[in-house]
């Protein structure tokens, strides 16, 4: 059944894209920083998992136990040591710094790992499937989608139901005034960055299991994340999931028509949303 195949494909792409976008949206939402090296950090997470699975023979998913904390630590230190110096300055500074970072990362990865394409081997789950109405539905696409929903739900709950959540939102509203409440905004920014990088870790590993990757893939992941954020809007983390699903569905339909136009259809749908709903499908309200 063609429709079911398209939907399954869209769930996997959409879930992956939502994870790409969630970290970008989080960093932009709290610190108003557009991290142009976002995609490259997704690739770094893939390589990190590769190293872990080389060093100790564990399943790529188990490697997340190491990759997530390491990426979160990188996020914290990057924010505290570098990006905090340019928060709130004119928006050009973070763009230039993270653009430079992106070039630096790609070249460093090329030096360290060469330009060969890599892949994380996840074993049976990559190809296993179940039959629904005669159509083979892969376990992996379902897993990616479930993880994406779980991560988005987790972020949404963290932001709107916990103490750290309202401190993060208050810091996003007014970083000067939180200082009057005894909150060090630089630390909160770094926590937000660490959270984003934890999501990047999950996105990177899921990507590296699904496709071949190499050091130059970052910018394309960034573009996808951008499109998802703009389609979904910055109103809530669910916007990232919706944006991801819209883009994933567009690409899945495109691929069904002609594999060569998969990306093109995605970009066209993105442009259409930008034309009709420039603030995205779930825009930020108030203010």
């Amino acid at each position: 059944m063609a429709i079911l195949e398209v939907i399954v494909q869209a769930m996997m792409l959409g879930g992956l894209y939502a994870l790409f976008a969630a970290g970008l949206a989080l960093v932009f939402g709290i610190m108003r920083i557009v991290n142009l090296a976002h995609g490259d950090f997704i690739v770094i997470a893939g390589f990190l998992a590769l190293i872990v699975t080389w060093a100790i023979p564990v399943h790529p998913f188990v490697s997340l136990l190491i990759v997530i904390p390491v990426m979160a630590a990188i996020g914290y230190v990057l924010q505290r040591g570098l990006l905090n110096r340019i928060v709130g300055a004119d928006p050009m500074a973070p763009l230039l710094v993270t653009f430079g970072l992106s070039i630096l990362i790609q070249n460093a990865l090329l030096q360290a790992f060469s330009g060969d394409t890599r892949k994380l081997q996840a074993g049976a789950i990559e190809t296993s499937s179940m039959s629904i109405g005669g159509t083979a539905v892969g376990h992996y696409p379902i897993l990616v989608f479930v993880v994406a929903v779980g991560v988005i739900w987790g972020l949404q709950t963290l932001f709107y139901k916990t103490r750290l959540g309202y401190v993060l939102r208050a810091t996003s509203d007014d970083a000067q005034t939180v200082r009057l409440m005894g909150v060090d905004h630089r630390h909160i920014y770094a926590i937000a960055s660490a959270l984003a990088f934890a999501v990047i870790a999950v996105a990177g590993v899921l990507m590296a299991v699904r496709t071949n990757f190499d050091p130059t893939l970052g910018p394309a992941r960034l573009l996808t994340a951008f499109e998802v954020v703009i389609i979904g809007g910055l109103g809530s983390f669910w916007g990232a999931l919706i944006g991801g699903m819209v883009l994933g569905l567009a690409q899945a339909i495109g691929a069904r028509i002609d594999p060569g136009i998969q990306m093109l259809v995605g970009h066209v749908v993105f442009l259409l949303v930008l034309l009709v709903r420039p603030n995205g499908l779930m825009p930020k309200v108030g203010h």
Binding site: R169, A170, D173, V178, R179, L180, M181
Partner: protein, 242 residues
């Protein structure tokens, strides 16, 4: 003096090249209510920013119970017991009233103030605890801003123009509540452009002009004329008496 809570001595402050405060010295005693009056641009808000740690003095000292707190940063100053209610209220718009109040508890100072006590003090914000801060009236927003500051359990509360843009009846209510707040033994510094309101509640008054203290004394010992002259910088014969 052993009952001195805060003292500023010879404080100079700059915005870039522009000097906003000149060799400024003031003192606030334990439990005292001090009013800072002066026209726009006299340096009142700058002074509160220096005390609360949002700005650093270029020279001079800010000491709290003898400890220098000049330039240590606002997040540290609040933990030592000094909290600013900022000009324009500055509620967090994406937080509910209750979350705004709970932000004050982030300073993690123990003391008499809790959510329940704030809601007792301002019953009409208790009804709106689930609303976003931006949905409240100006007076209610100011109550939340004061409540949020009280949640830090300060020894010294700095209030920057809390009556600005509010109806007279609301201002009267706020100042009535201020008496309840002060009954806890908390010292308060009030910045106002409205001399009348400030001198009613204050035990000591400083008048600022162009970044300098031009008059100080207890409101009862100062004549209306003396304060007005200092406020506007009028050179009249009465000036010799002050």
């Amino acid at each position: 003096m052993s009952n001195t809570l805060l003292s500023l001595d010879g404080v100079d402050t700059f915005y870039g090249e522009f000097q906003a405060l000149f060799d400024l010295s003031i003192e606030v005693g334990v439990g005292e209510c001090v009013a800072l009056v002066g026209s726009n641009g006299a340096g009142k808000s700058t002074l509160l920013k220096v005390i609360s740690g949002l700005m650093s003095p270029r020279s001079g000292t800010v000491s709290l119970r003898g400890e220098n707190i000049g330039g240590v940063g606002a997040e540290t100053v609040v933990k030592k017991g000094v909290t600013l209610v900022p000009e324009g209220r500055r509620l967090f718009p994406s937080l509910t009233v209750e979350e705004n109040l709970l932000m004050g508890a982030q300073a993690k100072r123990g003391g008499p103030w809790s959510l329940e006590r704030i809601y007792q003090l301002f019953p009409n914000i208790a009804e709106r605890r689930r609303n976003l801060g931006g949905a409240l009236s100006g007076g209610q927003q100011q109550m939340v801003a004061i409540g949020r500051a009280l949640m830090t359990n300060p020894d010294l509360l700095l209030c920057d123009e809390i009556s600005l843009g509010l109806a007279p009846v609301v201002v009267r209510e706020l100042y009535e509540r201020m008496a309840t707040i002060r009954a806890q033994g908390m010292a308060v510094v009030i910045v106002e452009q409205d001399i009348g309101q400030a001198s009613k509640v204050a035990t000591k008054l400083y008048c600022l002009r162009s970044g300098r203290v031009v008059l100080e004394g207890s409101p009862s010992s100062l004549s209306r004329q003396q304060i007005t002259e200092a406020y506007f910088g009028l050179e009249t014969t009465a000036h010799g008496h002050s």
